[in-house]
C-alpha cells in the first residue's frame, strides 16, 4: 500500500490527508512537532482571551484520526533524503515515504533587529508562541507594557489579546496608516480610529530600531527608529509578517526560493514530493495573487487539489476568485475579488467608497473605468454572501447591477439595519447615475426557477 507522508498538521496538511482518505485507501501519516492534534491556528487568540479552551480549537475528536486511519506522529523532521525516500526525525528515527507532502507552514519574520532574540521577544504563530505569551504576559503586573512591531493582521490580533488583560499596548506600524498596503485609504483610516478607540497606543510611520536588554538578558525597552524615543516594555511582539518554514530542506535538493518552489500541480522539482499551504511558492504568480499566499483558505484549497493529484486524478491548482476575511477588533472585514490600495491601483480601476456617518461601517467597490465591470469589493461591518459575489464576478456583472441587487448579497443576521438605500443614493450622486435598489429575492439568492 502506498505510504503518503505529510509533514505538518495545519489546515493544508490535514485537508490533504482528509481528502486522500476520501478518495483512496492509502496509508497516511502526518508528522508534526507542534501539537499532537490538528488545531485552528487562527483561533489561538481566543484561548488567551479566555473565550475558548485550547481543546475547542481542535476541530476533530480524538477518535476521528483512528477511524479515518490517519496516523499521527509527533516528531520534528530534520532532514529529507529524496534518494532514499526517507525522512530523518530529531529523535534520529527514520520514516520512509512513497509520496511526501510538505506542509510546514510559516514562521514569524525577524529582520535582524538588534536584540530580537532576547527573552520577552516573540512572534505569534505556533502553539509554543502562545505558551510563551502566557509566560511573558500573563497579566498587567508582570507585563506593564507591550510593544507590537508590525502593522498586519497578527499584530492587531495580538494587541486585542493583550488589551483583554488590560495590558497597555504600543503598536508600531511602519506605514503611515494601518494595513494601507492592502486597504484603500478610507478603510485604513477607519481602522486607525477603531484601534485608538480600544485604547491602543497606535504609532504610525514608526519602525523598530533596536530592542534594549536589561542585565538578565530580558527585554527592557525598545527604541523607535524615526523619533529615537525609548519605550520601556516587558514584551515585544514581532508580527511583521511570516516566512515559509523550510530551513530543514536546505540540503535536500528540493528547489527552494523563499518557499518550496512548486508548479501548478503543486509538485516540486523532485518526483513524488509536493508542497502546499504557506510554505509553497508558485513559480509564476496566479493572476493577481502572490506566489506565496499565507492564508487559511488557500492552504485548504491546495490540500483539496493535491489530494486529487496524489490519488491519480492529476489536476492543477486553480483557485477561483480571490476572497478573504478578517476581524479588526470589533469590525468584521470581508473581501471578494480585488480592491487595490491607492499605490497599487491600476489606471482603469475606479473605486466607489461609502462610509456610515456614525458607525464603523464602510464599503468599497472596485470596478473597471470603461466597462464598469465589477472587480472587487471590501466591506467592513456588513456581511456579504460569498456565493453571490463569486457568481457576480464570474458573470462579470457591472457596478450598476451590483448596486441594484445589493440586498441579495447581504448576509447580516435578520433584523439588522440595511444600508443598501444609502449606499445606492451615494453611488448615484457620486457617479451621476439613477440606479434603484431592488428588494431581496430568494429566487435569485438560491437560484431557483
Amino acid at each position: 500500500m502506498e505510504n503518503i507522508v505529510i509533514i505538518g498538521n495545519g489546515i493544508a496538511g490535514v485537508t490533504a490527508a482528509r481528502h486522500i482518505r476520501k478518495l483512496s485507501d492509502k496509508k497516511i501519516t502526518i508528522i508534526s512537532s507542534e501539537t499532537e492534534y490538528f488545531f485552528s491556528r487562527t483561533a489561538l487568540m481566543y484561548v488567551y482571551m479566555g473565550h475558548m479552551k485550547f481543546e475547542h480549537t481542535q476541530p476533530y475528536e480524538k477518535g476521528f484520526w483512528k477511524k479515518n486511519r490517519i496516523e499521527l506522529v509527533k516528531g520534528h523532521v530534520t532532514q529529507v533524503i529524496p534518494d532514499e525516500k526517507k525522512l530523518v526525525l530529531a529523535s534520529t528515527e527514520s520514516i520512509f515515504y512513497d509520496k511526501l507532502i510538505i506542509a510546514t507552514g510559516s514562521k514569524p519574520n525577524k529582520f535582524g533587529w538588534p536584540g530580537q532574540d532576547l527573552d520577552g521577544v516573540q512572534g505569534l504563530y505556533s502553539k509554543q508562541d502562545l505558551n510563551m505569551l502566557e509566560v511573558n504576559a500573563p497579566n498587567k503586573k508582570v507585563c506593564k507594557r507591550a510593544v507590537i512591531v508590525g502593522g498586519g493582521l497578527i499584530g492587531i490580533e495580538l494587541a486585542e489579546m493583550l488589551r483583554t488583560r488590560d495590558i497597555p499596548v504600543t503598536f508600531l506600524v511602519r506605514e503611515d496608516s494601518f494595513w494601507n498596503g492592502i486597504l484603500p485609504n478610507g478603510e485604513s483610516q477607519m481602522i486607525n480610529e477603531h484601534i485608538l478607540e480600544h485604547h491602543i497606543d497606535l504609532r504610525l510611520s514608526s519602525s523598530l530600531k533596536e530592542i534594549v536588554s536589561d542585565e538578565r538578558g530580558r527585554v527592557k525597552s525598545i527604541i523607535v527608529e524615526e523619533t529615537g524615543e525609548e519605550i520601556p516594555c516587558d514584551l515585544v511582539g514581532l508580527t511583521a509578517g511570516v516566512t515559509p518554514n523550510i530551513d530543514f530542506l536546505k540540503d535536500s535538493g528540493i528547489e527552494l526560493g523563499r518557499g518550496v518552489k512548486v508548479n501548478r500541480f503543486l509538485e516540486t522539482n523532485i518526483k513524488d514530493i509536493y508542497a502546499i499551504g504557506d510554505c509553497a511558492e508558485q513559480h509564476e504568480a496566479i493572476g493577481n495573487r502572490r506566489p506565496i499566499e499565507a492564508v487559511w483558505y488557500t492552504g485548504r484549497m491546495m490540500g483539496e487539489t493535491l489530494a486529487q493529484t496524489v490519488c491519480g486524478n492529476k489536476i492543477p491548482y486553480n483557485p477561483g476568485h480571490w476572497f478573504n476575511s478578517a476581524k479588526f477588533l470589533d469590525i468584521e472585514y470581508q473581501t471578494y475579488g480585488w480592491v487595490f490600495p491607492e499605490q497599487r491601483k491600476k489606471a482603469e480601476e475606479m473605486h466607489f467608497h461609502w462610509r456610515h456617518p456614525k458607525e464603523k461601517i464602510c464599503i468599497t467597490i472596485a470596478f473597471h473605468k470603461d466597462s464598469e465591470e465589477l472587480l472587487g469589493i471590501n466591506t467592513f461591518g456588513i456581511r456579504l454572501r460569498h456565493e453571490i459575489f463569486d457568481r457576480w464576478l464570474t458573470e462579470k456583472r457591472t457596478i450598476a447591477y451590483v448596486m441594484e441587487h445589493m440586498a441579495d448579497a447581504n448576509f447580516d443576521p435578520e433584523f439588522y439595519r440595511t444600508y443598501e438605500k444609502d449606499i445606492v443614493d451615494q453611488f448615484n450622486s457620486d457617479f451621476g447615475k439613477t440606479v434603484k435598489s431592488k428588494k431581496k429575492s430568494l429566487k435569485q439568492i438560491f437560484q431557483i426557477a
Binding site: G50, M52, D412
Partner: protein
C-alpha cells in the same frame, strides 16, 4: 491534551477579579437574597410589602449594576473575555457552589414546600408569606411556592435579560429576541394567568372557574393540559373555557406546525418559551459548557425522543382513564379515543417513512420503528387489560412517574440547577418533549436552516463552543454544509460569535435545504464538481 490547564497560565490565573463596583453590586444583590433567606428561617418581617419590595429590588438592582459595570465601558461587539478564566463560568469552585445551591432550592421547592412556609390550611409562613402581598395584589389569593418561584423566575429573566441586551447591543436579532422572551415571561407566564385566576367565579363565567393557563405553554410541555381536572376546569368556564381548550388543541396540531414550517422551532424555543428564556438570560454565562461530543449527541437523541414517547403514552393513558365506555352518552369513548390516537400516530409514522425517510439518520429510523411498534402494541393491549389499567400500568402511576422524573427532576433540578456545570440548555436538549416534537418538524419540513458562507470558515470553533445545544456547528461550517439540526433552537449566537461572518440563520426555500454536497467556494468549480461526484 487532557491534562490541559484551564487557565493556560503557567504563572497563575490571569486577572479576572471583580471590580469595586461589581463587588458592591454583588453585595447589594446578595442582601436581597439574604432577606429571603431570613424569611425562610421564619424571621417575621413587620411590613411584608416593604421588605419584599426591598428584597426584590436589591436583587434586581444588584444584577443590573454588575452588568452595567461589565459592559458599559466596552465597545459593542462580542465580549466573552475571560469566560474560561472565571470560576463561576468554567466549572470552578463558585460554579459548584451555585449549582448545589440551585439544585437544593429546586428540591425543596418541588418536594418540601413546607420548608418554604407553605401551610395547606391557614396562613402561610416563611418566604411564601413574604410573597403574599404581591400575590394578593395580582390574583387575590395567598401565595404558593409556585408563585414565589414564578416571581423569582420572572425577576431573573428581566434582570439578566437586560444584562443580555447590554452584552449583545450590537446585534439586533439578539436584542429583539430577548425583548420577546422577557415580554412573554412577564405577561403570558406570570401576570395573565394570575389575572385569569382572579376571574374565577366571575359573572361572565356563570360561576365557573377559569384555569390558571399559561397560553404559550403548549402540550407536551404542559403535559397536564388534558388531565380531567383541567378539562373540567375548561368546560366549567363556558365558552371562554371551551375556546381555551380548542386553542390548546389547535396549538399542537395547527399553530405550532405552521410556525415551525415558516420559522423553524426558534419561534418557540428562543423567542417565546420560558424555559428557553431563563436559559438565554440567566443561563447565558454558562452556554459554552454544553457537551459537544458525538457521544453526547447520541445520548441526546435517544433520551429526548424517549421522553416524547413517554409523554404521549402518559397523556393517552390519562385521557383514556376518565373517558366512558358508553357510546350512546358521548361519541368520545375509551375505544374511539384509542383508535383515534392509533390512526394519528400511524399517519405521522407512515408519512415520515414514505416521504421523509432519507432525511433521518439510521438510528432515528430504527428508533421510530421501535417506538411505533411498542405504542401500537400497548394500544392493542387495551382490549385485554382490566378496567382502570391502561396498558400495563395504572394511568395514575404513569402520570406520577412522569411528573416526578421529567416534570420535576429533569426540567427543574437538573435542567436549571446544573446550569453552571452542564450548560444552560440541558433540559431543552435532553428532556423537553416539546422541543423534540418541534425539532422533528424542523428537521423534516421547515424553511429554517443555518446557511454557511462559502468557504470562509477558519475552523476556529467559536460557534461550536458557544452553541448552548451542544451542536458541533463548526463540523458543518468547515464543510460548507447548511445546518439543519433538530436540536437547533435558533438562538443565533453561533452567527454572532463567528469572527468571519460565516453563519446566517435564515428561512429559505425547502428545495436544496439539506445540502449534503460540500460546496466550498474558492477552488475552481470543475474541481468541486469532481469532489462532489464521490
Amino acid at each position: 491534551m487532557s491534562t490541559y490547564d484551564r487557565s493556560m497560565a503557567l504563572t497563575g490565573q490571569p486577572p479576572k477579579s471583580l471590580s469595586t463596583n461589581q463587588k458592591f453590586a454583588t453585595f447589594l444583590g446578595v442582601t436581597g437574597l439574604i432577606i429571603m433567606l431570613l424569611a425562610i428561617f421564619n424571621v417575621s418581617f413587620p411590613n411584608k410589602t416593604l421588605w419584599l419590595s426591598i428584597s426584590l429590588s436589591s436583587v434586581f438592582a444588584g444584577i443590573l449594576w454588575f452588568s452595567w459595570n461589565a459592559y458599559s465601558q466596552k465597545l459593542p461587539g462580542i465580549k466573552n473575555d475571560g469566560v474560561w478564566f472565571k470560576s463561576i463560568s468554567s466549572r470552578g469552585f463558585w460554579a459548584w457552589i451555585a449549582g448545589i445551591a440551585l439544585t437544593g432550592f429546586y428540591i425543596v421547592l418541588y418536594f418540601y414546600p413546607e420548608y418554604l412556609g407553605l401551610v395547606s390550611d391557614g396562613d402561610n409562613k416563611g418566604i411564601i408569606a413574604l410573597f403574599d402581598p404581591l400575590s394578593k395584589a395580582l390574583s387575590g389569593n395567598p401565595a404558593s411556592q409556585w408563585f414565589v418561584y414564578g416571581t423569582l423566575y420572572t425577576v431573573a429573566i428581566l434582570a439578566f435579560g437586560i444584562k443580555f441586551l447590554w452584552k449583545y447591543r450590537h446585534n439586533r436579532y439578539e436584542r429583539l429576541r430577548t425583548i420577546s422572551v422577557m415580554l412573554f415571561q412577564t405577561a403570558f407566564a406570570f401576570i395573565i394567568p394570575e389575572l385569569m385566576a382572579r376571574l374565577n367565579g366571575d359573572k361572565i363565567l356563570n360561576g365557573g372557574s377559569l384555569p390558571y393557563y399559561d397560553l404559550k405553554n403548549v402540550w407536551p410541555l404542559n403535559y397536564y393540559n388534558f388531565e380531567s381536572y383541567r378539562i373540567k376546569g375548561f368546560l366549567s368556564s363556558g365558552d371562554i373555557g371551551f375556546a381555551l381548550l380548542i386553542f390548546g388543541i389547535l396549538s399542537i396540531f395547527v399553530i405550532t406546525p405552521i410556525l415551525t414550517y415558516k420559522y423553524g422551532k426558534r419561534w418557540y424555543c428562543s423567542w417565546v418559551c420560558g424555559c428557553g428564556g431563563l436559559a438565554e438570560t440567566a443561563g447565558d454565562s454558562f452556554r459554552h459548557l454544553s457537551d459537544k461530543s458525538t457521544f453526547a449527541w447520541k445520548v441526546e437523541r435517544w433520551v429526548v425522543h424517549s421522553v416524547v414517547v413517554f409523554v404521549t403514552l402518559m397523556t393517552t393513558a390519562v385521557v383514556y382513564s376518565y373517558l366512558g365506555t358508553d357510546t350512546s352518552k358521548y361519541w368520545l369513548t375509551k375505544s374511539s379515543f384509542l383508535i383515534g390516537v392509533a390512526v394519528l400516530l400511524t399517519l405521522v409514522f407512515g408519512w415520515v417513512m414514505l416521504f421523509k425517510r432519507e432525511q433521518l439518520q439510521k438510528d432515528a429510523q430504527y428508533g421510530a420503528i421501535g417506538y411505533f411498534v411498542i405504542i401500537m402494541a400497548l394500544l392493542g393491549m387495551h382490549f385485554f387489560s382490566g378496567d382502570g389499567n391502561v396498558f400495563l400500568f395504572k394511568s395514575e402511576t404513569l402520570r406520577k412517574s412522569y411528573s416526578f422524573l421529567i416534570g420535576s427532576i429533569f426540567s427543574g433540578v437538573i435542567g436549571t440547577g446544573f446550569y453552571p456545570i452542564f450548560g444552560s440548555r440541558v433540559w431543552c436538549r435532553f428532556g423537553c418533549p416539546m422541543a423534540a416534537i418541534l425539532g422533528f418538524q424542523q428537521r423534516l419540513f421547515s424553511r429554517f436552516r443555518i446557511t454557511t458562507n462559502g468557504g470562509q470558515c477558519i475552523s476556529c470553533g467559536n460557534c461550536s463552543t458557544y452553541c448552548e445545544m451542544g451542536i458541533d456547528v463548526r463540523a458543518y461550517a468547515q464543510k460548507g454544509e447548511n445546518i439543519v439540526r433538530a436540536s437547533c433552537v435558533g438562538c443565533g449566537i453561533c452567527s454572532a460569535v463567528c469572527p468571519r461572518g460565516v453563519l446566517k440563520l435564515e428561512n429559505g426555500p425547502l428545495e436544496g435545504r439539506i445540502d449534503s454536497n460540500q460546496v466550498l467556494l474558492g477552488n475552481d468549480v470543475d474541481l468541486m464538481t469532481l469532489v462532489n461526484q464521490k
